[in-house]
């Protein structure tokens, strides 16, 4: 234990924070201060102080003053989690001329006062945590931050409104963007909607200009019908492989005239854009305003690909743009930052069998209804029953389908209340039918949302507070015959009601993308238990992730309405441009280095590095680590049998010393 027994010639200052009563409420802060002063003197503690708010400017000044006047060579601050204030105190120390890496934080708030109750035990634990860090910090080395240049290009994944917004902001800022979208056109879910709440302006009218701008912007490379295959590298220097799926249409030659679509003899149900409610040709552009304008040939359904005949599209194409031999191609791009705006999936209402979607013809999903209302939709904007003709005389709209329900999704999808109110308005406006809304709680908490609720009330929509129990076609009474019966407890009168209607609309909630987990792993970010991506901080850092250089925007991190998705797209863009403008990014100097004298060239470490930062130098028969590629995980350090690799910031000496400290008898 030699390295721990050497009496250090360091001068250490210990600073214990009250954090108001957050810490002081459960921990005897003064006790900890005095104990450190008395018992850690032999470890080099020369001063130990407490203060109400150590992170306040006064607290920081106190530390800076001590560094200067008492010549402190190490600073230990017992306060909150390093993820919150490590930077604060390291910068303070730096101002006083001390290398930032000679300051450490001890988390006695998140790890003690907030999670324990017994004051005596909590105080004792705080003492040993402080002891651990004091003994550890003796072995800390002064480190210099690594600087790496930032590639000014950005990858945006997902061409919904959030992704479009982010791309435009960055492109207008003068930097290049690769916008990748897996569908044939950008626009996302918003392109499927008819009207948008609460202003009721037409979705296409406000979205199309943005789509066109993104499609024509000199700084945006639009890659639709494409998917990201692999990502490697780190902030500032990612290299990404993108698969451009075969369109069977030569984008150089195609003018988007649409003759091929017109002439294509085969129709199939459109499960994507028309939500299964309409048909499309086998060669198609998903919708009129699609960007880009080039159609896509749906090979699995194409008669030619099935039995070698047809080729109608090719025959009629005036520019010979149809190319049946086209193959998927892989593009490699280098970018400095990546924004994930991968959006959401609609909850599949078939899962709630008691609502009969898929069994009862006139039960519609919310997306089906959006298409039903849409002038470009299958009925040209006519709201009809499944027969495509009959106008409904009474309509029931059911909230919280698949949301706020432990059998499906626990969370509130936030948009469904407003979406349902919008539906109520559209039904009234276009059919004059009687409209019922069945809700648990009315959640209209945003600018002019509740006013919209008031408006719908005024329009005479009948609201029933109660989660619908079942939708059934089994009539009990004559007047129920041929109708859909909505059975519900009207919780305000405490009685069960059976309400016959012609049409039921299920206001489905939002779900994480079915492949969100795989996508997350591809980019090295993780999902919450609900399956949404985790922000670095839910309040203060909502568009960045734990992985430097990977940002998230829009519904990728949870259900959002259009305004919030747009603001998040812009926010992410701002974060990216801030990084780009710094030209280079500072990386934590936590890196592994090989002591070539000690290295026996056994190569055990060689295959351990996921970032291929470890290279074996044949002629010297030693291993070397490229500090630019090394991410500092320390796996090789732990693996080296000769102890030849050392990891800065987390050396064996530091850890051993910390263990000793933590186990000191108090």
């Amino acid at each position: 234990m030699s390295e721990n027994e050497k009496t250090p010639n360091e001068r250490i200052g210990v600073y214990v924070c009250h954090c108001g009563s957050n810490i002081a409420g459960t921990v005897d802060v003064v006790g900890v201060r005095d104990w450190a002063q008395e018992h850690l003197g032999k470890d080099g503690v020369v001063i130990s102080r407490d203060y109400k708010f150590m992170c306040s400017s006064l607290g920081q000044e106190m530390i800076e003053k001590d560094i200067k006047e008492l010549g402190l060579s190490r600073v230990v601050v017992a306060a909150c989690s390093p993820h919150l204030h490590e930077k604060t105190f390291r910068t303070a120390a730096e101002r006083a001329g001390l290398n930032p890496y000679l300051t450490e934080l001890v988390s006695i708030r998140e790890q003690v006062s907030w999670v324990h109750t017994d004051k005596e035990v909590a105080t004792q634990k705080s003492k040993s945590l402080v002891a651990g860090t004091v003994k550890r910090i003796i072995h800390n080395e002064a480190l210099e931050k690594l600087k790496v240049p930032i590639n000014p290009n950005t990858l945006v994944v997902g061409g919904g409104i959030a992704g479009i917004q982010a791309s435009l902001e960055i492109a207008n800022g003068g930097f290049h963007v690769y916008l990748v979208e897996r569908e044939p056109s950008i626009g996302g879910h918003m392109a499927q909607f008819d009207k948008t709440f609460p202003t009721l302006d037409c979705s296409a009218c406000i979205l199309t200009p943005r789509m066109v701008e993104a499609g024509t912007h000199p700084n945006i490379t639009l890659l639709t019908w494409s998917e990201v295959m692999s990502v490697s590298g780190y902030i500032g220097n990612f290299s990404v492989a993108i698969k451009k799926k075969a369109r069977f249409v030569n984008e150089e030659l195609c003018t988007g005239c649409g003759i091929c679509v017109e002439k294509c003899p085969k129709k199939t149900i459109d499960h994507e854009y028309e939500a299964g409610l309409g048909y499309r040709k086998v060669i198609y552009t998903p919708f009129a305003q699609a960007v880009p304008k080039f159609p896509v040939l749906d090979a699995p359904n194409c008669t030619y690909f099935q039995n070698g005949k047809c080729k109608a599209c090719e025959k009629f194409c005036p520019t010979n743009a149809i190319d049946f031999t086209q193959q998927d191609q892989i593009l490699n791009v280098e970018v400095g930052n990546i924004i994930l705006a991968t959006g959401y999936d609609m909850f599949d209402a078939r899962r709630v069998t008691n609502y009969g979607y898929g069994r009862l013809a006139n039960v519609f999903s919310s997306m089906e209804f959006e298409r039903l209302c849409n002038a470009s939709g299958p009925t040209g904007g006519e709201i009809t029953l499944r027969d495509g003709k009959t106008k409904p005389e009474s309509v029931g709209i059911i909230h919280c389908v698949g949301s706020r329900d432990k059998n499906y999704n626990n969370y509130c999808s936030t948009i469904c209340c407003m979406q349902s109110l919008k539906f109520a308005h559209l039904v009234k406006e276009r059919t004059g039918a009687t409209v019922y809304e069945f809700y648990i709680d009315m959640r209209t908490a945003a600018k002019s949302y509740d006013e919209f609720y008031q408006r719908i009330l005024e329009e005479g929509t009948l609201f029933v507070r109660g989660k619908v129990a079942e939708v059934s076609d089994a009539a009990r009474e004559p007047h129920e015959k041929g109708k859909l019966i909505i059975q519900v407890e009207d919780t305000f009168i405490g009685k069960q009601r059976r309400i016959p209607v012609d049409m039921v609309i299920l206001s489905s909630g939002m779900e994480p993308r079915a492949d969100a987990k795989q996508t997350g792993q591809l980019f090295g970010i993780s999902c919450s238990s609900d399956g949404w991506y985790i922000e670095r901080h839910p309040k203060l850092d909502p568009v960045t992730t734990m992985t430097e250089g990977i940002l998230i925007a829009g519904c990728a991190s949870g259900p959002k309405d259009i305004p919030s998705s747009v603001s998040q797209g812009a926010a992410a863009a701002a974060r990216v441009m801030d990084k780009i403008l710094q030209k280079e990014v500072e990386l934590e100097p936590v890196r592994a280095t090989v002591n070539e004298e000690k290295c026996s060239g056994c190569r055990i470490c060689n295959n351990l590095c996921p970032f291929s930062a470890i290279a074996f130098i044949e002629d010297l028969a030693v291993t070397r680590i490229n500090p630019a590629l090394c991410q500092g995980c320390g796996t090789c350090v732990a693996a080296c049998p000769a102890g030849a690799i050392s990891g800065t910031g987390f050396s064996n000496e530091q850890i051993f010393a910390q263990i000793d400290g933590l186990l000191m008898s108090i």
């Binding site: 790890q111 999670v115 651990g132 993780s526 351990l608 991410q631 796996t635 732990a638 850890i655 186990l663």
Partner: protein, 165 residues
């Protein structure tokens, strides 16, 4: 300290998932037993087996190693390496006459503060059942509340730890 045996647990967390899980537990004011003291590594892959031996030798009664869920590792797949090491280590300890149950591997994502707290509590209970780890007194860092049981503590342990540490 109360009558019942209070084990001391050293916990190693990775910087990205499990340490943040501990933060999350704090922010959410989830209560758990105070017997655990956490050490932050960058990745569970950094876990050097000697850390564990050292901790046990130094008076800890159990060691918890926690990292990101398989597939979620911030460093792609280094947590698998941690997994391998832990398995190996458990076998080694068994050979040394130490109950392998004194080492526990826990996966916790940054969102799983609740789960982590729960794991910590249950591990502490498991170790409490095992009773104190009977190392011979071999340096001043020996933990106060320990009772020494010479039979189940072959001297070799101390030495082994000396050597590796």
């Amino acid at each position: 300290m109360s009558e019942q045996f209070e084990p001391v647990i050293i916990g190693f967390t990775c910087n990205w998932c499990s340490y943040r899980a501990a933060d999350a537990a704090g922010t959410a004011r989830v209560k758990y037993a105070p017997n655990v003291r956490l050490i932050r590594l960058m990745c569970s892959g950094r876990l050097d087996p000697t850390f564990v031996i050292k901790a046990l030798a130094g008076g800890a009664d159990g060691v918890m190693i926690s990292g990101c869920h398989p597939g979620d590792c911030h460093y792609i797949d280094q947590n698998y390496k941690a997994l391998r090491r832990v398995l190996l280590l458990r076998r080694t300890l068994k050979g040394m006459g130490v109950e392998p149950e004194r080492i526990k591997l826990v996966w916790a994502s940054a969102a799983e503060g609740m789960q982590l707290a729960h794991e910590i509590d249950s591990f502490i209970e498991e170790v409490r059942k095992l009773g104190p780890l009977g190392w011979p007194k071999w340096n001043e860092t020996d933990h106060g509340s320990q009772t020494i049981d010479d039979e189940q503590a072959p001297v070799a342990h101390g030495q082994e730890a000396e050597v590796t540490a």
